[in-house]
């Protein structure tokens, strides 16, 4: 097939970095959760490439569990976001410092 392993690792690293930028620089809880999803996606790409590099199935098994954990994390995270929105009327994390008042 002829794709160097390092290229795939670089792709996974860039995707994780993009997700990290999204999770730290955006001011919206939904975008922060989307950034976490992008980071999990980059990790899955690295696992698939490693499974192919060493010809072992463990990497693919890890991707299966990454997908399961992402589903659990998103359902609970979105429920928490809805709860916070009903409680404070905003999705901006800067409005959650109610202890200050």
């Amino acid at each position: 097939m002829g794709i160097p392993f390092g290229y795939v690792l670089a792709l996974a690293g860039i995707v994780v970095a993009l997700g990290m930028i999204c999770a730290t620089a955006r001011r919206n809880l939904i975008m922060i959760l989307l950034g976490v999803e992008v980071m999990l996606n980059g990790a899955a790409i690295a696992f698939i490439a490693a499974a192919l590099r060493w010809q072992q199935l463990e990497g693919q098994a890890f991707v299966l569990f990454i997908i399961a954990i992402a589903a659990a994390e998103v359902s609970l995270g979105l429920a928490l976001i809805v709860y916070l929105y009903h409680r404070t009327g905003s999705l901006d994390p800067e409005h959650y410092n109610t202890l200050k008042q």
Partner: protein, 169 residues
């Protein structure tokens, strides 16, 4: 350059472009749609790397279920998009310096690592073989994942049960 290499570079460009567009959109619906395309690119990549079952799961669960859940929540909440701002300058400079250092050192590490030049060999994992492997060697992890999903379900039900009025507690 073989067909596989061309496909890999095209898919990588697709993933990076759609993810980069997704994380910079102001409109949340546009961001989610772009990210769905990014996950489709990941599914293509998984298929190229010989795991069609995980590619199908990526489309069904990630693009089909998780992102649609995001769309539901966005449409339910009528989100206002707040004024975006990046970091203030005094936080931006150390962050940018650290990120640049990590990029340079990571790139050097990848370039100098002899194993990173190893070309990946084509392989195909049959879904049946993958399922047999999962349930033979990591059945405990499957059980733990199912328990985790149950806990997440109960937690989501409990948290989203009833909106708490302002000032009730």
């Amino acid at each position: 350059m073989t067909l596989h290499q061309i496909l890999f570079f095209a898919i990588a460009a697709l993933i990076l472009a759609s993810t980069g567009l997704a994380i910079t959109r102001r409109n949340l619906v546009h961001a989610v749609i772009y990210l769905i395309f990014g996950f489709f690119g990941s599914a293509f990549l998984f298929y190229l790397f010989g795991s069609p079952f995980l590619a199908a799961l990526m489309v069904i669960i990630y693009a089909g279920a998780i992102m649609i859940l995001f769309l539901f929540i966005i449409m339910m909440l009528r989100v206002e998009s707040p004024e975006e701002r990046l970091f203030p300058a005094r936080q931006l400079w150390p962050a940018a310096l650290l990120a640049a250092a990590y990029v340079v050192i990571g790139g050097l590490l990848l370039v100098n690592d002899p194993s990173s030049g190893i070309a990946l060999a084509a392989a195909l994992t049959e879904p049946a073989a993958f399922g047999t492997y999962i349930f033979q060697s990591s059945w405990l992890a499957v059980e733990i994942a199912s328990l985790l999903l149950l806990v997440a379900l109960i937690g989501a039900l409990l948290v989203g049960r009833r909106p708490v009025k302002e000032g009730e507690d």
